[in-house]
């Protein structure tokens, strides 16, 4: 094992050996096995399209061997690549086994070459991109940008209809007075009772209840209705207290009241 190692080392030129050692020292600087392969391929000093993948595989395996020799720990993916390249190497060197499926050694090699070429191409264009004129370094944007200010403006509007309805509302305010405020059209039983108490003394004879409606309440239907109801309720109350008597000749006939005489 060590003999072959020696033999391989001898096969490399001094400069190659120095390069390989430099690579090993620099192993931290590589961005993975593909990057390392790309660097190694440069030592072939040929166009990437013409690179010998077999030679490259050998270079890589040599590198890994060297690293092991120098007790340098390589990351797992470097070792995976090494294993794969060893496999590729055997495929390339041995005649194809017809019983075996899968891609041929040539296909695998071609793809590896493609990957290297593509990675190199990406590096080249990345460099070109970074060499371009850049904003804030070679060309510049406006130094005093004027921001767009947002102005919020509120306009008020009204239609002629709004105007006319508004005016009508004011001018007809009396008609529109809220119903709950129409107390003057309502007579309560308390009011009627107070009033009847005072008046009952004069009712010595049978008198129509409607004649007891207060003045001004007998014409307006709303007021009349309220006053009649209040008066009737008051009459019932007074009758209950024994202050007066009431009678009605027949259905819907006028209700008559008179003072109850205690003597009679």
């Amino acid at each position: 094992m060590s003999e072959t190692d020696e033999f391989e080392s001898d096969a490399m030129s001094v400069s190659e050996r120095l390069a390989a050692e430099a690579l090993i020292v620099d192993v931290e600087g590589f961005e993975g096995p593909l990057d390392l392969l790309l660097t190694l391929s440069r030592t072939q000093k040929v166009d990437l399209r013409k690179v010998s993948v077999l030679e490259l595989a050998e270079q890589y395996l040599g590198f890994v061997e060297k690293a092991r020799h120098l007790r340098i720990e390589l990351a797992a993916d470097y070792l995976v690549m090494a294993a794969w390249l060893a496999f590729l190497k055997s495929r390339l060197l041995l005649p194809p086994d017809p019983s075996e499926d899968g891609p041929s050694g040539e296909e695998l090699a071609a793809h590896l070459a493609f990957q290297l070429e593509r990675l190199q191409a990406m590096r080249d264009v990345a460099a070109k991109l970074m060499a371009r004129d850049q904003l804030g370094r070679d060309f510049f944007a406006r130094g005093i940008p004027e921001d767009v200010t947002r102005v919020r403006r509120v306009t008020y509007t009204a239609t002629l209809l709004d105007l006319m309805q508004g005016y009508a509302r004011i001018r007809t305010k009396d008609e529109f007075r809220p119903f709950v405020m129409d107390r003057d059209a309502v007579m309560t039983m308390e009011q009627a009772l107070d009033r009847m108490r005072g008046l009952i003394g004069y009712a010595g004879d049978w008198t129509d209840l409607t004649s007891y409606l207060p003045e001004g309440w007998e014409t307006d239907p709303v007021r009349r209705r309220s006053a009649t109801a209040a008066n009737f309720a008051a009459t019932l109350e007074l009758a209950k207290r024994g202050a007066l008597e009431l009678r009605q000749g027949e259905m819907f006939a006028p209700i008559q009241i008179r003072r109850k005489t205690h003597d009679g």
Binding site: V154, T157, A158, Y167, T172, F176, P178, D184
Partner: protein
């Protein structure tokens, strides 16, 4: 640096300026430089600062004269700010730098009623408006209508205290499509047009108004008193 510059000056003076290697760039180039520097600078920049950044021998002041002329009548202009220079938006295009959002709101009921009274009764004093509306009129309502240019001050009334009167404006007429305030329909016409019901059914009775912010409590209670 300063030493070098001084030396250059000396050299310039020594060599006939025409064929000097240190000739300032042509004026057209200097103008481009001033243009680029003014554009990119985060603050207005003085002639001295310009020249400090331009190749030796440049005349920023002269370049500025040309540049200023070039921007005359353009969308931006080269303006002097103190003793420094800057590129600014042409004043007449300032509105492009504003994004205006217009929000249309309905005039408040108090404002509409006040406006209606002024339209129907002009010239009318504030006291008269309050008498007609039955509530006090807030200052804000009048101010708003004046700001909208829908009402303006009329002649003072020749009564004690000489109160101001309010009248509606031409802008008001234009907005409401009226030839004159006399064209406003009367109550009878409003009623016959169905805009006024003589008496709403009890169910549709308007309740006490609570949404008129500018109506004072006294005004409201006044409404309820009878």
């Amino acid at each position: 640096m300063t030493d070098d510059a001084t030396q250059d000056d000396v050299t310039d003076a020594a060599i006939t300026s025409n064929d000097s290697l240190f000739d300032a760039p042509p004026m057209g180039e200097q103008e481009r430089m001033v243009e680029a520097i003014l554009f990119a600078s985060a603050e207005p920049i003085t002639v001295k600062e310009l020249e400090a950044r331009m190749p030796h021998g440049s005349d920023a002041a002269e370049a500025l004269v040309y540049l200023r002329k070039r921007y005359e009548g353009r969308g931006v202009s080269v303006v002097k700010v103190g003793d420094a220079w800057a590129i600014r938006t042409a004043p007449d295009l300032g509105y492009l730098m504003q994004k205006e959002t217009v929000e249309t709101r309905k005039l408040s009921r108090a404002a509409i009623e006040t406006l209606a009274i002024i339209a129907y009764h002009q010239p009318v004093t504030r006291a008269e408006i309050e008498e007609i509306r039955g509530v006090s009129v807030s200052r804000g309502t009048i101010d708003q209508l004046i700001e909208m240019e829908w009402i303006r001050f009329g002649r003072r009334r020749m009564t004690p205290g000489r109160p101001v009167t309010f009248v509606v404006t031409q802008i008001f007429m234009d907005h409401f499509g009226l030839e004159s305030a006399r064209d406003l329909p009367g109550l009878k016409e409003l009623r016959s047009a169905g805009l006024l019901e003589s008496r709403p059914p009890p169910g549709a009775m308007p309740g006490p108004e609570t949404d008129d912010e500018d109506e004072s409590p006294e005004g409201q209670s006044e409404l309820f008193e009878d």
